[in-house]
């Protein structure tokens, strides 16, 4: 995925998971939706690094890492109670205002492209304090000046109840943070350049004078992902786990 000439002892997925784990930090509860192996790796890594059973990690696709017993609504009720601190969203389009589009491009009544739909984003984006946007494809097709359909807006008027929203956008090229209603380039992944990010981003963003390289995973982080996280992940993402972390080992 990365065009890199640097010799590395980690895979792209490990770098991304490591970056996201740092964004998660010391949360109480991270929930990860379906088909999100890298955020799931990140959440389990954050937990392994904190070493105090924090954060609690809910993998919604899992039976084991999923405590919900009150039906499909419990995730949303739980978020409404303020008990979900970190969630991940993506978008067919993401714009510079942090708006995400999971519905369609073109005219809503006659869409050019139809995406699956908004899922829970039109609610969770407002009530989960730390929403991390994750979209590996970093292109002018996905990162646009303005989305064609707002599944959920990046910011709201001051009088709109909102206890959550986007804090960062992680792509295959870089990390943006989100503050004051705009993205700011926080770091560029090893093997990528600021110029490349500018060229492939459809929206305006704040550009610091110096943009650091995304820190690479420490040997300890790599060890935790491979030895502690991978066996837990295998239940939900067997193919991803085998491909990224090698053949399954027995669970810790």
């Amino acid at each position: 995925m990365f065009m890199s000439a640097v010799r590395r002892d980690f895979r792209d997925e490990e770098l991304l998971a490591d970056v996201i784990a740092r964004l998660i930090g010391d949360a109480r509860h991270v929930a990860v939706g379906n088909a999100s192996p890298i955020p799931a790796t990140a959440a389990l890594l954050a937990r392994a690094q904190n070493g105090n059973m924090r954060p609690h990690v809910s993998l919604l696709q899992s039976r084991r890492h999923n405590f919900f017993t009150d039906g499909a609504r419990e995730l949303f009720d739980c978020a409404g109670q303020g008990r979900i601190d970190v969630f991940f969203l993506s978008g067919g389009q993401i714009d510079g205002y942090g708006n995400i589009n999971l519905v369609s491009t073109g005219d809503y009544a006659h869409p050019a492209v139809r995406f699956p739909g908004s899922f829970g984003s039109s609610y969770l984006y407002y009530v989960v304090p730390k929403v991390i946007l994750f979209r590996t494809e970093h292109s002018r097709r996905t990162l646009v000046p303005q989305v064609d359909f707002v599944s959920a807006p990046g910011t709201s008027e001051r009088n709109v109840y909102r206890t959550g929203g986007p804090v960062a956008l992680v792509t295959n090229r870089c990390v943006f943070t989100f503050t004051g209603g705009r993205f700011r380039l926080a770091s560029v992944h090893p093997g990528h350049t600021v110029e490349e990010v500018i060229e492939n981003t459809g929206f305006d963003f704040d550009l610091p004078d110096a943009v650091p390289a995304t820190p690479t995973p420490t040997p300890e982080a790599l060890r935790l992902m491979r030895e502690v996280v991978a066996p837990q992940l295998a239940e939900v993402y067997p193919r991803f786990t085998a491909e990224v972390f090698g053949p399954p080992q027995s669970a810790a």
Binding site: G71, L75, A109, A112, R114, P116, G120, Y123, P153, V160
Partner: protein, 280 residues
């Protein structure tokens, strides 16, 4: 007296087609998300019968079931927060119908569907929900209203009208001969049944004894009182999975995704995997 509580509405387990009789053309039909027990055998039976103009509510999302019904021309309106085949890619017939305008789509978001069905469950005309304000989901739903929270101060909040489906349809691990259905953790199935005028269930198997008489089983049981018809359909969620019972059939879903990518391939899929079972 094993069925002390059985209601006269319940009739003993029926043939699949008999059980589905209440689903007429234009029925407002609510069905569950992929992990909650998707009645795929029943869905194929409905397609064979040629049901038309359904108002399909997928609580809160759908995958193969909505795609099949849409592709087979059974759906007039789809109300859901997403349709996708997940790791098998986009739902091709849904995408085709959405872009061609063949179906009307009422886009929503997961908790809004849950809340609107809970409103019907509770007999109230609406439920409030946070979020949504400033989204285009709200903008295109002129059946929703924004009011000022009367307990707040300049605090707009969305009100969602109750959804009253005519029929709730789902697949569950087991039912007993009294008509009680074990739904386990999938509590939204109870809400669906409470909200709908009639509930039709397919099950893997019959349970001997009365589910309500064992406190442990009763905790996960939808009482017969809410259930109008039950049919036994072994592996009735196939090719989807039934959690804790069987996995989804990945090979078949890959095949479906490939075949349904074109209208012609989808027609061949129906011939092979839906209509061939007409005699079953």
């Amino acid at each position: 007296m094993p069925c002390a509580n059985v209601t006269i509405m319940f009739q003993a387990a029926k043939s699949l087609d008999e059980a589905l009789a209440a689903i007429d053309d234009a029925t407002t039909l609510v069905v569950p998300r992929e992990v909650s027990g998707v009645p795929m055998a029943a869905t194929r039976a409905l397609i064979r019968r040629g049901v038309k103009n359904l108002h399909l509510i997928a609580l809160p999302t759908s995958s193969l079931q909505a795609d099949l019904l849409i592709g087979a021309g059974c759906v007039a309106t789809l109300e859901t927060s997403a349709v996708s085949l997940g790791e098998f890619g986009p739902a091709p017939r849904f995408v085709a119908a959405a872009t061609s305008g063949a179906i009307r789509i009422k886009d929503t978001t997961c908790p809004a569907l849950h809340a609107a069905l809970q409103a019907a469950e509770k007999g109230v005309p609406f439920m409030p929900l946070r979020g949504l304000i400033g989204s285009d989901v709200l903008k295109y739903r002129n059946d929703w209203k924004v009011v000022n929270n009367p307990f707040g101060n300049d605090d707009p909040i969305v009100l969602l009208p109750a959804i009253h489906p005519k029929v709730a349809l789902f697949h569950a691990p087991m039912a007993d001969r009294c008509g009680n259905v074990w739904i386990g953790r999938q509590r939204e199935l109870a809400t669906m049944a409470h909200a709908a005028a009639a509930t039709i269930v397919t099950v893997e198997r019959l349970h001997d004894g009365n589910l309500l008489e064992d406190p442990i089983l009763a905790a996960g049981t939808l009482p017969a009182f809410y259930v109008d018809a039950i049919a036994i359909a072994e592996r009735g969620a196939w090719p989807l999975g039934l959690p804790d019972h069987y996995e989804l059939d990945a090979e078949h879903l890959s095949l479906y995704a490939r075949m349904a990518a074109s209208a012609q391939g989808f027609a061949e899929y129906l011939d092979k995997y839906v209509y061939e079972r007409r005699a079953a």
